[in-house]
């Protein structure tokens, strides 16, 4: 049974179709929950995973969330996005938002005034370098450094060849490195 037919039957609350849906997509949802937890740096327990798993299916079944899916061929991606939303909601409820994000640029312990000044200069230099990047390049560097994605994964997300992605990452890092070096020399 293709996804279009399956979704249609599930929306009409066909019990057999829901059985098939559960067998076909529960692995994907289970994987997406674990992935979402890792993305949020949360060490999860089995109970956390099971709670969200059931919440996602309740949302799909009782609230007929599948009616919001516009293209049935996008079902796997849509389900993983829905699971990500549900997991972040769950985390928001469970833990107060992490405070580790520093409002200012990091200062390195007890630094002297001159060092602090240097940090601020480095900060503004990095800021201007990143802000000057084209949007696509910034996405690539964020995926690479923040989300630690491989070049192949990034190329699939941004629809660019791997070589291009590698070049952009290398070029951006090198550019910033050179700027910092130049600043230090001055």
């Amino acid at each position: 049974m293709n996804d279009k037919k399956l979704v249609k039957l599930c929306i009409n609350k066909n019990q057999k179709a829901w059985g098939i849906f559960l067998n076909k997509y529960s692995h994907l949802i289970y994987w997406a929950i674990k992935k979402s937890f890792s993305a949020n740096n949360y060490s999860y327990s089995q109970t956390d995973t099971e709670d969200i798993f059931q919440e996602v299916f309740l949302l799909l079944f009782k609230h007929n969330k599948l009616t919001e899916l516009k293209k049935a061929q996008h079902l796997p991606g849509w389900l993983s996005m829905l699971t990500y939303n549900k997991t972040t909601d769950y985390l928001r409820r469970k833990i107060s938002r992490k405070e580790e994000l520093i409002a200012d640029f990091p200062t390195f312990g007890d630094t002297s005034f001159q060092e602090e000044l240097k940090n601020k200069e480095t900060y503004s230099l990095i800021k201007s370098s990143i802000e000057d990047l084209p949007d696509k390049d910034r996405i690539i560097i964020t995926l690479n450094l923040l989300q630690e994605k491989s070049h192949k994964e990034i190329s699939q997300i941004v629809n660019l060849p791997i070589n291009t992605v590698s070049t952009i990452i290398h070029r951006t890092k090198e550019k910033i490195r050179k700027k910092i070096k130049k600043m230090k020399e001055i």
Binding site: Q15, K16, W18, G19, L22, N23, S26, H27, L28, Y30, W31, A32, K34, A39, E50, Q54, F57, L58, K62, K70, K71, H74, P76, G77, W78, L79, S80, M81, L82, Y84, N85, T88, L101, I102, A103, F105, P106, T122, Y123, I126, K127, I130, D135, K136, R138, I139, I141, T142, L143, L145, L146, Q147, K149, E153, Q156, I157, N159, K173, R177, I180
Partner: protein
């Protein structure tokens, strides 16, 4: 390496981590992923996701899910959890009932088919006429007990018989009473 750390720190501070009203709809992100979006829309999405790690993370999970969707072995899931979820949604019972219905229908068709085949064979092979006929009768009886319509028919006949027996008794009692009264008079 130090530069990388600094860039990472800057990106952490400069990207939005939570969902905002500006975040595009999931469908738009999926269209971006599947390249089914206009260039203008694509630029709009990129302008947003380069500063929103919430949407970027969603996009990368969706992208990865497309590679992983058929790899069930990579994502083993406890069977108990599936059963628990089925119970919670109320799927199990009905699904089981459905399976049972299918099984009984198959049996019903088997008996009916057998009856017809045996009946035909009894005419084709006359030397075993009685044997095939007996087989057809046995399978026919089994079919009538198996099929819903057959069961209903048996119940109707049974209730009709019981009903008529009761009525017969009532009439005979009434007649007895009538005659007894006449005798007394």
């Amino acid at each position: 390496m130090k530069e990388e750390k600094l860039i990472k720190k800057y990106l952490q501070n400069a990207t939005n981590e939570d969902k905002t009203p500006e975040c595009p709809d999931e469908q738009v992100l999926l269209d971006y992923l599947h390249k089914s979006i206009s260039q203008e829309e694509q630029k709009k999405v990129e302008k947003h996701i380069c500063r929103c790690s919430f949407c970027l993370e969603k996009l990368s999970i969706a992208s990865e899910s497309l590679q992983n969707k058929n790899k069930k072995d990579l994502n083993p899931i406890p069977k108990e959890l599936i059963n628990k979820t089925k119970n919670r949604l109320g799927i199990t019972q009905k699904e089981k009932n459905g399976e049972e219905n299918n099984k009984s229908k198959k049996k019903e068709m088997f008996y009916l088919g057998g009856t017809v085949i045996f009946f035909i064979l009894s005419f084709i092979i006359p030397q075993y006429f009685l044997q095939f006929l007996a087989g057809a009768v046995i399978l026919g009886i089994r079919w009538s007990f198996q099929s819903k319509n057959g069961k209903t028919l048996i119940m109707i006949i049974d209730s009709w018989r019981r009903h008529s027996r009761e009525k017969d008794e009532q009439i005979s009692n009434r007649l007895k009473g009538h005659f007894q009264k006449k005798e007394k008079d």
